[in-house]
Amino acid sequence: MLLRALWLSLIAGAMTTPAQATESIAPQITVGTQEIGLSIGYLLPHRLTEDHTTKQQGVALMPSWMMTVTDPVGDSWYRGQVSLGAEVVYIQFQEPFLTHGVGFTPKIKYTFVAHDRIRPYAEFAGGPFWTDLAGKIPEESSQFNFILTAGFGCSYFFTPKLAVNVGYRFHHISNAGTQYPNLGLNSSMPFGGFLFYF
């Protein structure tokens, strides 16, 4: 259902593009511009040590909200804007057991604005994360954990207010030593989604 909605929005955006080709569709993002988005990704495991044995995998759903807090700064390729916001992360682990995880992560993002419609960005987020996968695997013992995320992506604006984005994130899930064992789960996540600005 979500995928269908995403495809519909992509098609709608593509259909409106030719009509607006003569106008500038570069987004006018200023201080106070908000964005809401929805991204879907797939979690792939990284077993960084010999003690890591779990091959956790699953679909991740990430609705987000952000607020732009600076005008574009810089005069070169690194010209960009800072945004602050938060994201809810839901992961449905399909391997090694069908389990779930949900977290809330404040987030900071730097968007490069040197190009009009194509805008790469880097992001960092972290916050509490609950999962019932813990306790069933040797790496994690407590259901209450923290999730740290760092990644990059690229947005393409179909209209000044609508963009699609693809990117990559690295996830680390552990409980900050509140309970042992606490080896942590590390994952890569390619993702895609859309952003709406207002």
């Binding site: 201080v31 106070g32 807090v69 600076t70 804007q81 602050l84 809330f104 900071i108």
Partner: protein, 250 residues
Amino acid sequence: MDIVAQTTSSHILTVLVLIGAVSGGCNRSIDILPPVPSGTETAAATIASTERVPLILDQARISQNGAPQNPSTELDRRLLGSLQSLNLFSHLSLAETAPPVADEKTIVAHLTIDDAVDSHPGEAAWKGVVIGTSMFLLAPVMELHYDYGTHLTLELERWDGTVKTYRSESSGTARYNLFSASPSMITELKGHVMEAGITDLMHQLVKDATFYNASSAPVTERTIHSVSVKAKRRGPAALSVSISAPVTSR
């Protein structure tokens, strides 16, 4: 019974704290320097209608942090509106719609706007990290700033070529919390700062009201600027600029 009462009061207290935190996180204010006068009566002047001459406003030149910006018709019209309220001129128009007519007493106005914007990106970034780390609990007490200043230069060229220059500076700061930021807040700030600058210009201009009377100077030939440009050839550069005019005074 006591337990129920205590639970209810703690719930009420929690709700009040949450409401206070959310409402505190939505505060914002705008400070302007110099403050805009409450009325425009002091900027009004009286000139006999037979003494009034038309004014033509050239397109304003705008720059932001030193970088040239696209012209703004809205800004041109806003200045025209302020000039209109002075009652110094018979009618006002934009140069693109009504260019100056030779042998007619007209005032030509040139406006230059130099904006300075500082959104404090470094401060916003580190405060953002602090706010995020606190899970937004510190959002109500961490204030963000946005500075905007403008330097206006208005040149009025009389029909005899005499030029008067007026300058004004104004600035303002928007103070806001994360959840109260909005593009309209920045628009309001810029509107207030621009209004303060234009009002200051009008106060200066009205002091020279008699300078713009029709009888203040006879009609003379206006400055003629001619520029001819030819295609580049292998020979010496074929660019010539000639200016012929009576001496202008400032």
